[in-house]
Every structure is written in structure tokens, then in C-alpha cells.
Amino acid sequence: MTRLLKTVLLATTVAAGLAAPAFAQDSVLLPNLSYRTGPFAVTGIPLMNGQADYMAMINERDGGANGVKLNYQECETGYNTEKGVECYEKTKAEGAIVTQPWSTGITLQVLPKSNVDKMPVLAPGYGFSAMQDGKVFQWAFNPPASYWDGASMILQNIAGGNLDSLKGKKIALLHLDHPYGKEPIPLLESYAAKYGFTLLPIPVGLKEMQNQSAQWLQIRREKPDFVVMWGWGAMNAGAVTEAVKTNYPMNQFVGIWWSGLDGDLKLVGEKGKGYRTLSWSMTNPDAPVMKDIKKLVVDTGKSQINKEAGEYDWVFYQRGVLISAFLAEAVKGAQANFKTKVVDKEQLRWGLENLKFDDAKIKELGLDGMIAPFSTNCANHTGHSGAWMLEWNGTKFVKASDLLQADRAAIDPLVAEKAKEYADANQPWPINEECKM
């Protein structure tokens, strides 16, 4: 009996000893449903690294957000929706105050639950475009730009600012045959009807991502004036190499912001010159925040980035940094507003709903030149920062346009319509009536 007692006592002390450091500092759990494995890992890894490194830098430099450690944790999904549910449940049970679902498929599963679980969903630059409507999607946020914003900006840019010039032209939409790739279709269809161009959606199945010869054969036959790409993961590299192989003019080939991975274009190098990608983020290795990350995280070996490949300068890596900056700012905003240190889910929701990235804030955070100003409010969960067109110059992406802005008049009615459709299909769906904006 005494021996048993001793064992129990010993076990408790050991357990307490192990658990003690965790309580030494206040922390908030900010998980990320990452995918460093699977067919989309190439695009996932630099983004996840950027996210992790920004959080690590803030914890290192400032000791967290006002002394509260930002406990960034990854739960690996491999872009698999089944793992996504598992990770969502797991992180929720561990006390997460936000979920970052990453895949549109996982977002679809998590979105309806967000109301019930009161869990903020942060999907920067992805997810449903209709999530912009903050009154309907109270818990979901997709700053700083939605896919429909992106589609509108791409069209404006390729039309040279005058959409009427697209009349009679043919635009192919090379897209992943997945909820993500289908996102821009409703908006592009309405544009096609309005401005008289032909939209040719060309789906790429998940199984054909690496071998798109059939799709590019179709492109060669149809000779579209532009190919707009909504690609992800292994699909981007496949498309770029096929375009080079079929000699499709690169200056007529434009991708959304997830189709601008440096590594994919490095595969073709000089031959990819002229390929453009829309991006709401811009690289700036001289920004104070990047220097701090380099000094405190990368140079001390705490980062997982691939230094040989120059990942530090990649668009995606620095975009990951921005995504974490949104989240960290939301935490700080909630702390200030509720005069508390450890924020909970509802307080973080307020923080995300009141993000204010104006010029002064961007300067203060040291994100100079990396993002355009935007702010969210209770009716607008996207913020609409606008985006730049980046062009591949053979070795890296360079800015190729001024800041573009989406055509709100065309998008907002569609957002309202789709948001209502979603709410109606998911009755009872709570609408934020308090929001008067």
C-alpha cells in the first residue's frame, strides 16, 4: 500500500513538474491546420513557415502579445478533409481560439459549425468569397481580398483598365476541379455576359494535376486570348511547364495569388518570363519585420525554411508572415478593447472584425510595402486591400502594376445574393442584426 502511495505521489510530482512550465506564462492557442505532406505540400510549406516564423519572432522579440505568448501550433491535415475535421475537433478541445482551415473543402465543413462552436474562422485570401458579408458569416473572415476581388482585378488588368476591350475575346479559366477552383466561375460568368467575352472553364481533376496535356491540347486548339489560372499545389508547376512545352505566350497567362509560387516558376526559369500572378502581398526583405525574423528566427536556426532554395525571399513565405500578422494584430486589438490579457474566442472575433491595417499601422508593424491598407468591420469581413500584379522576370517575381482595386459594384450584389442563399440553405442561420453598417 505504501509503495502504491509512493508511486502515485511520485507520478503526480513528475506530471506536475512537466505541466508546470506550460502555466508559467499566459498564452493563447492559435492553431493552424497545416499541410506539409500530400500533393499540396509544395505550396503549403512556405506559407506555414512564414506563419510560424512571424509568431516565433513576436514571442522572441516582444515576449508575445502584451506578455501573452502566442502559442502557434500546427495540426497536419495533408489537405485531406477527413483529417481536417479531426484537427478541428482536436484543437477545439485543446482550447483553440481560432481555426485556420486552409483548404476550401475543410472550410466548407467548418463554416456551418463556427456559429455553433463560436469559433472564429480565419481564411486569409481563400474560402468562400461570400464570407465578405460579415452579417451573415459572423464568425468567418477572409481578409484582405476574396477570390471574386481577385477575378475582377485580373480582368481589369488584362483588359488594360477598360473591360469593354474584352469584347469578342476568349478567356480560358484553367482551374482545379474542386470547390476552390470553382469559386470565381459565378462572377466571371456574369462578367462574360456583361462585357461580351467568351469564358471557357477548363477543369483539371485532382488526379491530372501533374499531367495536364489534355487541358493544354484544348487550349492550343481553342487559342484563347488569355488563360487565367486558379491552381494550387502540384497543379501550378504542371500548368507552367505545359505552357512552356506548348509555347503558349507567357504574357497571356495569369494566375491568382495561390498560383505564384517561386519554386514552380524556378522550374522553367527564363522560359517562364512574362507569367503574371495577382498578389495581395509583396516581398520586401528590407522591411523591419523581415529583418527581425531573419535575426531572431532564421539565423538562430529556429525556422524550418529551406535556405538553399532562397525560400526567405519567396512571395509565399512573406505572405505567411502577413497572415500571422493579421492574427497577432487581432489578438492585440481584442486585448486593448476588452482590457484583458488572455482573449477568448468571442473577443478574438471582435479583434478580427476590427482589424485596421492603415498606413500608420503597417509602418508601425514594420510591414512596409508588403501589403496595401485595409480594414474590416462588422459588415465587411474581407477588407479589400486590393492587389498588385506580379511578373516573373526569369529569377523572381517583380511588381508589374499599380495597386488594383476590385469592381465593388459588380461583386457586392453577388456577395449579398450568395450569402443569402447560403443562410437560407442552412436554416436556422443567425444573422448579426446589431450590425448597422
Partner: protein, 358 residues
């Protein structure tokens, strides 16, 4: 000792043919049911319910459906995922066309759609066998997933091409959709699975089940003793696809909440086939054991390092997980090629003899 059968005398044919000729089996089952119906709902966390128990039950049900076809009737099928999809889409359409429909009725009806599709794709089984039939069912797999993608009516012309589960209530209680409590979903799934299992046990023991087994073991001999192979094979396809269809409807409505077409692609078929094979072909119990190994084990391994306080990267855990689960599968198949159910049967036999082996 525990499994002593001495003193359990059978005095009638009915007693001899009872479901549990050995009393301890009935006690064991009673205990498992008690745990499943009382203990788990009382103690399990939301994570355990949503990520462990419900998926294990649903996968076990799908494997049970496949096992009837492959294990009992000997017809190899690689189209399980697609048949699950038929059940899911049928249930979705039923629920959206008739919004007031009771979800239990909708799920029961959706099984008939997949049964019909299953019979249609089972027709080649009358002429071809083995691997050739597997290829024919593979065609069903590719065709149906393609259909789920291209036939926009199936997903109500949703722009993202996915189906989403609305809040569904039954007798005033929300049973499906985001608003449903995990315990309610669990009970719904558990009840369905219990009912179907009871049905499956009885059908496989009875006349129909015996005709399936006869056809499986030697179809020419079966035909000679007067069994109609067409009837036997097609009824196996129908019953199997019905169960698979129900499991597909549960899969989306009671667990995932949303589904896109590629969810029902070939990896899902293989997963269910693995569960059936590792669990044991031609057994009911095996499906549950297989589902625990294939579905629950990775989840448990995945949460171990965090529970033990090991500072491992999430991606590393995932790689380790794949390796461990893969190794376990190979190990089990080497140790007992007839599956986990056979493994249990051996243990049980030894227990009955113990402590005096031959």
C-alpha cells in the same frame, strides 16, 4: 475459466441454433453494448465522439456492406466509395426536395438508390468473376464520381459543387447538421449501425446467406444443388449496396457535414476494402475490428506525442503515423492472414480450452 462451456446443455434444436450457443458470448456482447450505449456517451469528449467513435461506426458499416458482397458472396468490388456517394447524394436530394421528410426515412430510402445502382453494376458479375469483375466495379467507381461532378442537379447547382447538410431535426431534436449535439449524432449512428448489424447477422446465417456462401465457394456446385446464381449474386449486390448506401448517407449527414465529389473517389473504396480485408472477410465482427485499426488507430497515435509531451512537429507525427499504421497492417496480415476476426476466434477457442489445452 472465463469461457467455460461446461454445463451449458442444449435441449432443443432452437437452442442449438441460437445466435449465441455459448452464454459468455452473449454476456460479452451485452457488455460491449452497455459500453457503447451508456458508458461512451456519458464519458466521451466531443473530440472522441466526432473524431473517433462516429467515424469508426460509419466505416464499420460501410465495410459490413462490402463484406456481404466480397466476404459472403465472393464478388470483389472496388466501387464502394462511389456507392457510398450514391447514398449520400440520394439522401441530400431527398432532404432538399422534401424538406419535411424524417431523416431516418430519407436515409433508409437513400439505400434503395444505391442498391439499384449496385445491382445495375453487378450485372456483369453474372458472366465475369474475380479480377475481371473488380475492373467492372472500378468502372462504376470512375463513372459515378464523374457523374457527381458533372450533374449539377445533384448538388442543387451549388457554385462550389459541394453538398452541405442543413440542420435537420427529428421529433424536435436536431439530429444532423451543424446544430446537432455530438451525442445525438452518435446515438443516431449507433442505433442505425446496431439495427443493420442485427439484420446482417441474421441474413448471413439464414437461407439467403447460405446461398451466397455456396456461390462463393463453388458456383457450379451451387447451381447443381439448385441455387440460382443470378438471384444469389444480384441479391448480394443489392443488400451490400443498400448497406453501403446507408453508410454513405450517414458519412455525410451525421459526420462530415459537407462533401465534394472527389471525397467518394477510389481512396475511399480502398480504405473500406482494407477494413474488410484486415478485419476478416466473411465475418461481421471483423468490420468493427478493422475499422478500429484503420480509422481509430491513426487518430490515437496522432494525439499520443502531445499527450506525452513529446515536442514533435505535426508533419513528422503524420509521417510516423503512416509508417506505424502500415507496419501494423503488414504485421497483422502476416500473423493472421484471415483477418482480425479470425484472430479473435483463435483467442476465444484457446480461452474455452484453458487451462487444459490438448
Amino acid at each position: 475459466m472465463l469461457y467455460r462451456t461446461a454445463g451449458q446443455f442444449k435441449t432443443s434444436y432452437a437452442a442449438d441454433h441460437a445466435l449465441f450457443p455459448v452464454r459468455q458470448d452473449a454476456w460479452l456482447l451485452g457488455f460491449i453494448l452497455l459500453v457503447a450505449y451508456v458508458l461512451f456517451p456519458l464519458t466521451a469528449s466531443e473530440f472522441t465522439l466526432n473524431a473517433l467513435l462516429v467515424p469508426v461506426l460509419i466505416y464499420a458499416l460501410a465495410a459490413l456492406g462490402l463484406n456481404i458482397l466480397t466476404g459472403y458472396a465472393g464478388q470483389l468490388s472496388l466501387g464502394t466509395g462511389a456507392f457510398m456517394g450514391v447514398g449520400a447524394y440520394a439522401c441530400f436530394k431527398l432532404m432538399t426536395i422534401f424538406p419535411g421528410m424524417n431523416i431516418a426515412v430519407a436515409i433508409a430510402l437513400s439505400g434503395f438508390f444505391s442498391a439499384a445502382v449496385g445491382v445495375a453494376f453487378g450485372l456483369p458479375s453474372l458472366r465475369i468473376k474475380g479480377f475481371y469483375l473488380a475492373i467492372a466495379t472500378l468502372a462504376a467507381q470512375f463513372f459515378l464520381v464523374w457523374l457527381f461532378e458533372k450533374w449539377a442537379w445533384l448538388y442543387n447547382y451549388n457554385s462550389s459543387g459541394a453538398i452541405q447538410v442543413p440542420n435537420v431535426s427529428m421529433f424536435g431534436l436536431t439530429v444532423a447538421g451543424p446544430g446537432a449535439a455530438p451525442v445525438v449524432k452518435y446515438y443516431f449512428v449507433l442505433l442505425t449501425v446496431t439495427l443493420v448489424t442485427w439484420f446482417a447477422i441474421n441474413i448471413t446465417r439464414g437461407r439467403i446467406g447460405r446461398t451466397w456462401k455456396a456461390v462463393r465457394d463453388m458456383d457450379i456446385a451451387a447451381e447443381l444443388v439448385g441455387i440460382n446464381p443470378m438471384k444469389a449474386k444480384l441479391s448480394a449486390f443489392a443488400v451490400s449496396s443498400y448497406i453501403v448506401g446507408i453508410s454513405g448517407a450517414l458519412f455525410v449527414f451525421l459526420w462530415r457535414g459537407a462533401a465534394e465529389p472527389n471525397l467518394f473517389d477510389i481512396p475511399l473504396s480502398f480504405r473500406v476494402l482494407f477494413i474488410a480485408i484486415i478485419g476478416g472477410l466473411g465475418s461481421i465482427l471483423g468490420n468493427y475490428l478493422g475499422a478500429i485499426l484503420i480509422v481509430a488507430l491513426p487518430v490515437i497515435i496522432g494525439s499520443l506525442p502531445a499527450a506525452l509531451g513529446l515536442p514533435l512537429q505535426s508533419a513528422t507525427i503524420e509521417h510516423l503515423n503512416v509508417m506505424i499504421v502500415g507496419a501494423t497492417i503488414i504485421l497483422f496480415l502476416i500473423v493472421e492472414p484471415h483477418g482480425l476476426a479470425r484472430f479473435w476466434a483463435i483467442i476465444r477457442e484457446k480461452l474455452i480450452m484453458w487451462p487444459f489445452p490438448h
